[in-house]
Amino acid sequence: MNPILLAIVIVTVIGLIGAVILVAASIFMYVPVDERVEKITAVLAGANCGACGCAGCADYAKSIVEEGNAVNKCTPGGAKTAAAIAEIMGVEAGSSESMKAVVACSGTCEKTSKRFEFEGIQTCQSVKGLYGGDGMCKYGCLGYGDCTRACPFDAIHLVDGIAKVDREKCVGCGACAAACPNSIISIVPEHKRKPVVLCQNKDKGGDTRKACTAGCIGCMKCTKVCHFDAITVENNLARIDQEKCKGCQLCVKECPVGVIHVPANE
């Protein structure tokens, strides 16, 4: 047989056999995929941020359809996405609060200072490893921007030595909260009136005062002024229960160091 012909025939036959096997395999080993999964993946935000607790948008879509996961967990998509998914699944959307990151530190450059000059690798993670950070306050924002680098939405930046959240861009995915070695960033439901204590300092009042003029000194004035028992002071640090808070903002006016703020209005 002509060697050229033989080569062509053999390669063609191998290719054909392979094609037949693959076609047979795709019929025989067909895995049914629920078309709703694809539809939901299409309406999700597509940021793959992981705020819903799944490995990515496709994974979340799958868990909604197969495991009955809630439809309102996509924070970047917000209420609109929740409604769209609810329509595909034929269920009620439920309430989808807008969640935003809040940086619990008010120690700007003029309020606090540094204990030493740090010349190592310029990340929060590494400065934290050296005597707990270079700031006077060991609890506050380290100011080396690990959160900025972690943010997939370009929504958090260093302003005046501390991290500041761009409330327009923030979608509440929590990437910054996970990156912060001091754990001062939390994801809080956005509310126009409810205030938050922007400090994490758990030292006694005097020590706090020495480290930072904007720190919570645990004076209990806010707990006394609150009519709804929403504020507790634990470890010399005030904390506002967002469930109990009615948003009267009496504590904001009462705080002697001005550390209670409404993040939504900043």
Binding site: P3, L6, A7, I10, V11, I14, G15, G18, I21, L22, A25, S26, M29, Y30, V31, I121, S126
Partner: protein
Amino acid sequence: MAVKLASIFFTMILVDNYVLAKFLGICPFLGVSKKLDSAVGMSLAVTFVMVMATAATWPIYMGILEPNGLGYLQTIVFILIIAILVQLLENFLKKFIPALYKALGVYLPLITTNCTILGVTILNIDNGYNFVESIVCAAGAGIGFLVAMVLFSGVRRRVEQAIVPECFKGLPITLVAAAMTSLSFMGFGGIVSAIFGV
């Protein structure tokens, strides 16, 4: 026999490491070695496909191509077979072993066009190995790939934390680090043949 197989196996891991001595599969070596767990996932998938591909290509070469004097077609035929095999494997895993399918995930289709797989199958033929030796050689090559990936992901983590001159940042310093890792593997030259006396 056992000594020869062991010699082949360890030679593939240490002396003739596909990545660090033969410089095949550099793309996944640089691309997927950023994180340890993805490096391990990729290497396991590569090992798996290498063994399967060798098991499929060796009989086809010896049974069909060689008797007909068509040895020169091995490259194109092997690529065809590897592509079919990987696709088949993906379907199979999806249906019967979803856990493994999920673990290998995106790496499986990526390997279809990986040159290490083709390299292993072709070099097995070139070295004149029989079927069992070829399988052992493929397994060794896969484990060697795993070793290289795991070592290099550690190296990379250190490199990422180091202060690197601006012009070397990113890929250049990674290549320099890869070259040094490869140099260190040259120290294994001749060690396996000395141990097993083959």
